[in-house]
Structure formats: C-alpha cells, structure tokens
C-alpha cells in the first residue's frame, strides 16, 4: 500500500514537473532584435531581448501584443510592429491579421449598437446585417425606446443599399417595415386610473401594438 502511494506521488510529481507540451506557434525572429515586455502595453518595462535567427513560441495575442516564450523559457509581450517580418518554420511570414479597408468593403456580416432620439425619447438599437453583395444587405434591428412617460420596443427587418461602397464615407439608403409595442409607465397609469377610474385610462395601460409612425405620434402627444 505504501509502495502504491509512493508511486502515485511520484507520478503526480512527474506530471507536474513535466514541461508543458509544445504550446503555441514556433516562429523565427527576422528583425535585428525584438523586445519582450512584462505586459501587453507600451508602458511596461522591457525585460528581455531576442535576437535575429532565434526561435520563439507565440502563445497568444491580445490586441496588438503577442505573448512569446523564448528557447530559455523566458516570456514577454512583443508589439505587432516587431512581428510583421517574423517567419514560421515553413519560411512564410507569420500571419498577422490586420483588417484593411478592402476587408471592410468586402465584409459580409455586421453588427452594431446605436444610441439616438425617437420623437423626444431615448432609443437604444441593436442591429445585425448580412451583405448579399457590395451594394445590398439585409438588416434586422431591435430597439428599446425609453421615454419620460412610456417605454416601447420596435423591431425592423429590411434592406439597405450602399450606392458607392468604395468611398470612405458610405451613404446608404435603408427601407424596413417595423412592428412596435409601447406601454405607458405602470405607476403613472395606476395613479391616473385611481384618479379618474375611467375605462379609457385603464385601456391606455395595456400594451398596444401599432406601427412606428403611429407610435411616434402617440409618444409626441403624450
């Protein structure tokens, strides 16, 4: 039993002491030297330098910084600008994915958030779009309208046309039918109902479904 425990302990020690498996991607330094910093930022101190021709392993990338480990096991963060010439063992350059303007023109999927005004109320919109080609894309948007007296949501599904996708500033034309729901503030409604106890005010408290234009008109009128 003691021997079994000793073996298990030894196995644990071996497992924990064993060097990590070949982690990351091996690259060869081409720049005269690259600087390893303690953190992924320009202000962190440089603690090591790796010279041209040496092999290092790229463990990960965070924003513009690559986390490297050299042959001696020393680790540090290197800026993207020093990694552009770096070669992988096959002789080709390390792929550094940097989005160019051409990629933006050729992009297919798009998602975003918008903050704006909707007839005097604040509106937060989340949208997703898929481009069928450089000019035409389909778009779905969900909006949360936050007014002083009522809240609401609307959803749209439509198409967007970009006449000149090559321009840096891209005007676009969008057309989308919408469906919306609005609900006046419950507390304000309750107080109103208590004061008047009329059937009209009670009806106004129920969520309603209208078109966008009628909802906007309703928001303005309230």
């Amino acid at each position: 039993m003691a021997r079994l425990c000793a073996r298990a302990l030894l196995l644990c020690l071996v497992l924990t002491a064993a060097p990590a498996a070949a982690e990351g991607l091996e690259v060869i330094v081409v720049e005269p030297y690259i600087e390893l910093r303690t953190g992924p930022g320009r202000g962190f101190p440089i603690v090591h330098v790796v010279e041209r021709g040496e092999r290092v392993r790229v463990l990960k990338r965070r924003t513009d910084w690559f986390h490297l480990r050299d042959a001696d096991g020393r680790e540090g963060w290197v800026h993207r600008s020093q990694m552009l010439e770096t070669l992988v063992p096959t002789g080709s350059r390390l792929e550094v994915d940097d989005p160019a303007r051409e990629d933006f023109v050729a992009h297919r999927r798009e998602a975003g958030l918008m903050l704006g005004d909707f007839g005097g109320a604040n509106v937060i919109t989340a949208y997703g779009a898929y481009a069928f080609n450089a000019h035409l894309s389909g778009e779905i948007a969900l909006a949360h309208i936050l007014g002083n007296f009522s809240d609401g949501q609307y959803a749209t599904i439509g198409v967007t046309h970009v006449p000149v996708p090559e321009w840096r500033g891209q005007p676009f034309l969008s057309m989308a039918p919408a469906r919306s729901a609005s609900s006046p503030r419950a507390r304000r409604c309750r107080r109103l109902s208590a004061a008047t106890s009329s059937p009209t005010s009670a009806a106004a408290c129920a969520p309603t479904w209208r078109g966008v234009s009628s909802f906007a008109r309703n928001t303005k009128s309230t």
């Binding site: 991607l25 930022g41 463990l59 990338r61 096959t90 994915d97």
Partner: protein, 227 residues
C-alpha cells in the same frame, strides 16, 4: 573431302561477314534522325510528378480579445436601501487603451424610509422592486501598471474608467440610464482577471411622487476570463 570443308568454312565466313555488316538493332538504339521541321514542332517531354502537393495551412495565433465573467457586489438603490447585486459582463478589447463593454445586473431593492416610518401599504410590488439593468459602453485603460506581491511576484493591472448607456427596470418602468465608473482589473493569470468596480447608475425616477434624478451606486467584484 578437303574441298567440301573449305567450301563450308568459306560460306560460314561469308554469312558472318554479311551479318556483321547489317545494322544490329540492340547496338543502335538511336532512332533515325527526323527532319528538322518536325523536330521544331514537338515540345520536349515534361515529366509529370505523381505526388500531390500538400496544402500547408498556416497555424493561427490564439487571439484573446474577448473577456466574459460574473459579478457580485452591493447596489445602493436611492431611497431603497443597499442590497446584493448579481450580474455579468462581457468586453471586447479594441486596443491596449480602449475596450467596449456590456453589463447586466439584478438586485432586489429594500423598503424606503417612507414605507418603514408610515407603516402603510408598500409603494412598490415585489416585481416593481426588482432593480435590473443592462448597459453598453466604452472603457479607457487609464493607468496600466503592475501590482507587486512581495518581492518575487508582479501582477499586471489596469485602472480604467467606463461610460455607458442603457436601461434600468425599476418601479414599474424602463428608464434610460447613464452609467459612469472606475475599476481596477488585476490579471491573476494571463487569461483570468479580477475586477473591483465602483459605478453610478443615473436615471430619472418618479416613484416618490415627483420626478428626480436618482443616483444608484454599486461596488462589485468580478471574475472574468479572456478568450
């Protein structure tokens, strides 16, 4: 007899001489020279390799710009006591200076002083008393640096400022909310971070009769992972 042998040897010698004068097929493998014009038309034979080229797909570097995690802390809902807050956060690090962040949180507000002192009917139902919010915005890593633990250990850290907009559901309605705050992010591992945050959720509210600006402060501890 002697003449017959001589004739036989002579005829054998003649046959051998005749055979040796004929072009021997194996000894002369070169084909007969062709006309120059035909030679110019034909391209030299190219050896087609039978081995297919392997498509080498370059390995990609593991990119960790997303951060996701859970939050717990306390939320002071103005006029409605301080309570435990549970939440979640997700962030995308655009560069070393800025990140985009989305947060959600939920807390059950307590009783207001008015409700305690009057002893009357509660102002809000249980459902209306639940304070939930979502918020999206940006953060700025204002003070990146290191935290030193003893003499041998240093952890990367950042003090950041955030500004975001979103919605708060409390007191029977959704309210447009602006949230500002500051936080400290400490990287315990390269992929694991601990956050300490102080934020203020500001929105208009009319629960206590008149419309007023409500400040709701939260202090939270978050554990996040980069992926």
């Amino acid at each position: 007899m002697e003449n017959r042998i001589r004739v036989l040897l002579l005829s054998a010698a003649l046959v051998m001489a005749g055979c040796s004068s004929l072009p021997w097929r194996d000894q002369d493998p070169e084909p007969a020279p062709e006309p120059a014009a035909a030679e110019a038309d034909e391209t030299p034979a190219v050896i087609e390799p039978q081995v297919e080229r392997r498509k080498v797909k370059p390995a990609k570097v593991d990119t960790e710009n997303w951060e996701i995690g859970a939050t717990v802390g306390s939320l002071s809902v103005e006029d409605f006591e301080v309570n435990i807050l549970y939440g979640a956060r997700v962030a995308y690090h655009i560069n070393e200076d800025f990140f985009a962040e989305g947060t959600v949180g939920s807390s059950d507000a307590g009783l207001s002083s008015f409700e305690r002192l009057s002893g009357g009917a509660p102002l809000l139902t249980d459902n209306e008393r639940r304070f939930t919010y979502y918020s999206v915005g940006f953060g700025w890593n204002a003070l990146p640096g290191e935290i030193f633990l003893g003499g041998r250990r240093a952890l990367n850290s950042t003090v950041y400022l955030t500004l975001s907009a979103g919605s708060t559901r409390f007191g029977g309605g959704d309210r447009f909310t602006v949230t500002g705050g500051a936080g400290l992010r400490v990287l315990v591992k390269d992929w694991l971070a601990v956050h300490l945050d102080m934020r203020d959720h500001v929105h208009e509210i009319d629960v206590l009769g008149s419309n007023k600006t409500s400040h709701n402060y939260e202090a939270t501890l978050s554990l996040t992972a980069f992926f």
